[in-house]
Structures are given as C-alpha cells and as structure tokens.
Subunit: 453 residues, 2 copies
C-alpha cells in the first residue's frame, strides 16, 4: 500500500488543478445572477466524486441551490461517515482590494490565493482527495457519504428541509466537517462548541407623536431614556444577564475542561491591541475565551430613536428601538430565551410607555461529545500527522446547520478544520496555506483509519 504522504507527493499538482477547476466557478450564493454557476459547481463536484471513486453521485434539487450527494457503501453493516461541505462562496467586494483575480487561483509563497481557497472549496476538497486515496489503495474502512450544499453563506435556508426529506439516505454515525479554523499552523484543534443565537427587536412607545423636548421634557416619559434603562438593566455590574431564568438551562463546564481550554495559546494584549481597546469586558469570573466559548452573552446589535441627523433637534421621540441578541450555550433553547428576555423587558417597563418585543430568529448551540469514538479517532489522527493532540476549542459564533443536523438527522458532527485566522475568509485576498491542504488530506485519511477499524 502506498503511504499517503507518497500518494500526495505523486499527485499534488493534479489535486491542485482539480481544486482550481472548482474555484474558477464563481459560485457566489448571495448573487442571484450566479444561479448557472451554482449548477456548474454542483456538476463539477459530482464528477469529482465519481472520479475519486464514489459508487454514485448526483446533483439533487432543493428549494434553492442544488445539493451534491455521493456515496460509497463498502458494507451496510460498517460504520458510515457523512461528509458535509459547501461549494458556495462569499461575494468578492470590495474587489479592488484583491491583489489577484478572486476566481483565478494563484500560489504566492506557501499560500493559495482565491475566493473559496479555504472557505469551503479548499477545505471540502481535502475530503474528496482523502477519499480518492482510500478507494484507490483499497483501504477505505467504512462507508462514506458526501453532502455538499450551495447555500451555506446565506444561512443554509434549504438544507434542513432537504435533510428531512432524505433522512434515510443520509443515515450515518458521524458528520465530518472541515469549515473551521485551527489555532495556529502547528497547533491542531477541533471545534467542540458553537454558540446558539436568539435575536429580538424591542420597541418602546411613549407619546403618540414626537414631542417638543422643551415643552414636554421632564413631564412625559422619554422612550429613548426608558429603552436605555431597560437595556442597561439587562446586565448587572458583574456582566451577568439579570433576566430571571436566563441561566437555568446553562450547563456549567467542569473545571478540568476549563483548565484544558486555558492551555490554548491566547495573548490578551495582542487581542486588545488588534481591537484598539484599553480593556476587555465581560462576565465576572470567566476568561475572555470562556466568555465567548462557554458562556451565554447579550449584546445590542442596533439601536435607534429620535433625531439622528446632523446638528441638534429638540425632539422628545415617540418611539425607541433596539435589536438585541443573546448568544446561547448548549441546552439553552433560543425561543425560550427570547421569550424570557421579552417578558423581563415588558415587566420592567414603566406604565408611562408601551413595550413590544419581536423574536426575529435564532438557532441552537452545539456541543460535541469529547468522549465519542469519532472524537477519539480524530485525536489519534492528529497525533499521527502533527505529533500532538488537538486542542478542543469553542467558537463564539454559530454554524446553525450543525445544530440542525443533530435535530433533523440525529447525528453529531465532528469539526476538523484546517483554516487559520490569517486566511481572511469572507475578506479580500482569501488564501489557504498549501501545507494545511495537504496535511488536512493526511489527517482525514488517518481519521478513517482509526475510526473504521
């Protein structure tokens, strides 16, 4: 059997050329004019899966852009890995900031520059190549299914329904995803937590029209002042959310796990410098990484009232509004949380105003199981390739589809990401470290070896 390192060495130019073919299709999902490119990208993936050794592969319609599904079933009783990725990319504006053509991949130094070089064309393509190796060398130890969508960058509006409609076909033991980052080139990590989101909009109405702030100021409740107080009262001086019941479903992370998290390299001085702030700020008793990783939070995302133009207008506004969102940790329900906050806001409002709250949207948090077979196989795979165990990290952000997979398909995901912060995904000059592309292929193949045995 050819060792994978040798296989990659012998085929690396072809691997890249095949990836370039995918990258050259400008599959920007947020631009409706790109519809034909979405179809082309899906067809390209289908061909690549068949070439790599899939028994079958097809482009399946959804309510939006198609999903590419492929599979190789070696034994119905063997374990099954379902690979998820997305072939759509973010827009390229502001295009004038790109140093290369965004859809013409170019290697400069040790990096490949292009839109999608990492997110997620580069990262998802590693799975095709690891799969190809295992099929060609006849060492695939389990069943593999592929599912590649074309709407991740616009919130995966069709994939949940498509999964529900194809639940049997998608049966698997684990969903394998490469769409996240590692801490540093030599510090592998697995994303084991993603926060959920509950997003509300609050409106405070006082008098039935804007009033003259001189004639009425001091005698009529000002909705902007009231809203400021309502918002202010949502957090106490220790950064705790004061809404009754808010923390009821929050599971405290064991001290050992917090200790493990604390080993992740993190430089608070650099963090503050990058953001140009004098001090970090957040819930008392938790570190910065804990505040975004394992604790829920509450932020105003937008706020508006009265006169916001140039100069001075002496108006006592009739209404004041805020968009407020809560980031949630596993076991918190987004709708329940939204309602708790809404009820608190209404209960705390003085009689002199009316308060209305709308739940705009949300999604659940996700927590991986660090004791699972899949997680342990991934640990061994990283050990094989990097010589060290991956650090479990928790991202403050949300990938709502991961929680959807668990809810709809009942399958946990394993987030083996090989991106780096320097890759500038979603920004001009997105790139991907070539070394991470090739080591990713190696690590994925190693994962199968450990997981399938």
């Amino acid at each position: 059997m050819t060792p994978i390192k040798d296989y990659i060495q012998a085929n690396k130019n072809r691997f890249l050329e095949e990836l370039y073919g995918l990258i050259r299709i400008p599959s920007i999902s947020s631009e409706t004019a790109r519809k034909p490119d979405m179809q082309r990208a899906a067809e390209y993936w289908r061909e690549q899966l068949l070439k790599a050794g899939a028994d079958k592969a097809e482009v399946m319609p959804t309510q939006g852009n198609p999903v590419v599904y492929g599979e190789k079933i070696i034994d119905p009783k063997a374990k099954t890995v379902l690979v998820y990725g997305h072939y759509d990319v973010m827009p390229v504006d502001p295009v004038e900031l790109w140093k290369t053509q965004p859809f013409e991949p170019q290697v400069i130094g040790d990096r490949l520059y292009a839109r999608g070089a990492n997110d997620d064309k580069g990262q998802s393509f590693m799975h095709a190549k690891a799969f190809e190796y295992m099929v060609k060398e006849n060492c695939l130890p389990c069943n593999v299914k592929f599912m590649l969508e074309g709407e991740e960058e616009i919130g995966s509006p069709s994939l949940g329904q498509w999964c529900a409609d194809n639940k049997n076909m998608l049966e698997a033991d684990v969903i394998l995803v490469s769409d996240t980052s590692m801490i540093a080139p030599e510090i592998p990590s697995i994303t084991v937590g993603l926060r959920g989101l509950s997003y509300i909009e609050v409106s405070v109405t006082g008098p039935n029209k804007d009033l003259h702030s001189g004639i009425f100021g001091g005698a009529v409740a000002n909705p902007a002042n009231v809203l400021a107080k309502l918002i202010s009262d949502l957090l106490d001086e220790n950064g705790h959310v004061t809404v009754p019941g808010f923390y009821d479903d929050v599971v405290e992370i064991p001290q050992e796990e917090r200790a493990a998290m604390a080993k992740a390299p993190f430089n608070e001085e650099e963090y503050k410098k990058a953001l140009d702030i004098e001090a970090v700020s957040g819930e008392k008793g938790y570190t910065t990484l804990e505040r975004t990783g394992i604790r829920p939070s509450l932020d105003v995302n937008g706020m508006w009232s009265g006169y916001t133009g140039e100069g001075a207008k002496t108006v006592l506004p009739s209404t004041a509004h805020a968009k407020i969102s809560m980031r949630l940790v596993p076991n918190q329900n987004w709708e329940k949380t939204g309602h708790l906050v809404a009820e608190a806001l209404k209960a705390r409002a003085p009689k002199s105003v009316k308060v209305d709250v709308k739940l705009l949207h949300g999604g659940s948090a996700y927590g991986a199981d660090l004791g699972s077979e899949a997680y342990k196989a991934a640990e061994q795979a990283y050990m094989d390739v990097y010589g060290k165990l991956p650090i479990p990290t928790r991202s403050g952000g949300s990938i709502p589809i991961i929680a959807t997979f668990e809810q709809v398909l009942g399958i946990k995901s394993l987030l083996m990401g090989f991106g780096l912060e320097a890759d500038a995904i979603h920004s001009p000059n997105e790139s991907y470290l070539l070394q991470n592309f090739f080591r990713g292929i190696e690590t994925i193949a190693a994962f199968y070896k450990h997981y399938g045995k």
Copy 2:
C-alpha cells in the same frame, strides 16, 4: 379708519397666499444643503416688509444664515417695538408620517398644515400683517423694527454676535415675539418664563471596527450597551438628574408662586389622552406643569448605533451615539451644565470604551417682568380681542435668544404666542389654527394701540 376685523376680512386670502410663499421655501436650518433656501426665505421676508410699509428692509449677512432687518420710524422720540421672529424651520423627518406635503401648505378644516405653519413662519407673519394694517390705515403709534433670523431652530448661533454688532440700530423699548403657545383657543396666555437649553452629543467608541457578535460577544464591551447604561444612570428612580452639581444654581420657586401656577387650567387626564400615555412621568415632588415650567430636565433627543435596517445582523457595533439635551431654569448656565454632564459621562465610562462629548449649543433661561408697561398693554390687547386677561405661563421650551437679547441689548421681551399644543410643531403634520392667525393679527394691532399711546 377701517376696523381691523374688516381689513382682515377683506385681505385674508392675500394674507394667506403671502404666507404660503414663505412656507413653500424649505428653509431647514439644520441641513447644510438648504443654504440657498435660507437666502431665498430672507429675501422673501425683505420684500414682504417693504410691501407692508417698512421705510427700509435689508438682508444682512451674519456668520451663518442672514438676518432680515426692516424698520419704520415715525418719530425718533416715540416708543420703539422690535419684532423678532425666525424664518428657519425644523427638519421634516419622518417625512412618511406627513399626510400632506410639508412644504405645500394646505388648509384642512380650520387648520393650515405645513412645516412652519405655526413655528415660526405663521406666527411671525402675523406681525407683518398687523404692521401693514397700521401703516395702511395710518394708525401706527410707535416706531417698529423687524429682525428675522434663520438659525433659531439650531440655537441662534450667529444672532448674538449680530445683535452686538448692530446694537444701536436695534435700540428699542421692548422686543415683541410670537413663537409660543396659549393654553387653549379661548384662553389667551403670555409666556413669562422660558427654560434654557444645553444640548450635547455623546459618542462611545469600543473596538476599532464592527465585530462579529458571536465571536466577540461577551468579551468585548459593546458601545451600545455602555451608552445605554451611561444614559440610564443620568436619572435616578425619582427622576432627579444624578450629575454632581447639576442643581447647584437652580433657584427654588416660592410656594406662593407654585400655588398661583397651580390655578392655571390643566387637565392631566386630557393631557395623557392627547398623548396616548397611561401615566405621566417626571421628577418626584413636582406637578406636570412644574416639571416643565420651573424644573430642569434631561432628555435623549436621538440615539443610534449598529444595524438599524430590516431583519437581523449579528454585529457588535464599534460606536454608539446619542444627542442629549438639558432644559434649564433661570440662573443655570448652559455651558457649565453641558460640561458637568460631559464630565459625569466621561468619569462614569468604563475603561473598555472611549467617550467623547461635544457641546452642540445652548442658551439661558428667561423670566419676564409682569409689571412692565409692555406687559400691561398686552393684557389690555387680549382683553379687547378675547374679552379676558391672559394667564402668565411658564413654558418648558427654550428660546435661547430671548435671554441673549436681555444680555446683549438690555431689552426685555414680550412673548405673545398664538400657537396651541395641537399644532404639533417640530413634528409631522405641523399645523396652525387659522382663527389664531387672524386673531393674532388683531391682538398685535391692539397691543400697539395700547402700548404706543
């Protein structure tokens, strides 16, 4: 001599058409793009004064928008009345709430709808027409000077200096102003107190760019949340301003005067009903009329941060802003008050953000002399037209220039206002009761008769 009632009846359509010409010029002083309209409005006034019978009238430059000055001197030894008004108006946002075009005057029922219909184009124009009558009928008993500025709604930043520069030209015994309201259509009143104003703009800056609220939320101070707390903390649970030193210069009004004020007709139930509020709100220990008449107050006039469009954007905003103004009572200095509030905001801000405060503008409060000849002449004029004495009232609003007139020119003002609360000045659908426009002309002419004799 034609009785004034008859003169008005014969000329009412022309009076209105001439007023419409002024209203149709969108002279919004807070919008720099309106500069040419300010000039046009001033020129229009100059022509109207000459047509009405002024010996001379001119558009005089200032550091900002021009002042229109006109005069008719019948006898250098006679008394002189200096009429003050303003030709600038407030912005029209939110324009979608207007039922008519704001700059296309329209009579609906017994009211004229337009921006400036009352404030102050409608009210100031009554003086032109009363003057016209007295000149045409050859019954003007004293000298009259006119001074119309174009920056009242932005705090009259240039008029004080212009007055100082033209002090001799402006010599007068009293300044006559119609820019206030009466209690009800049949209850004439004279405003004997005006609150001052100190208007600031606060900016809170956190991180140097908008951040992803998932990745950073909970670990980085959110400027919108911080601003909400800073605003909230400006008032305590009793409606007192918490800024150290804020009340130091406030003179308590004697109990007898508060008792006299309490006799003014005021129906709190109707007040609440008109505003569609369940409860009034304000400083503990004071009535609604006292809260706006004799006590300082603090209001947010505008507030904005982050994403304010449709739907949800998970942004942790880099900045948050508010326009805040304090209404002041006699003896409070507006600049000192603005600085006190600014210092309190800065001192209370956490280290995680930067706070910047600008003093936008302001003016002192004003108290009239109820024993003056002018006040007594005005009482008789109202008695002639309305059959009852005017009630002395204290307005919560500010006409900062009134205090400036006293300081710079040494002349007291007489505030004969014919507006009504229902006129919704500064709001969408500003209007003016036509009957008040015509009775105002009558009352002003009657004032001259009593004062000039």
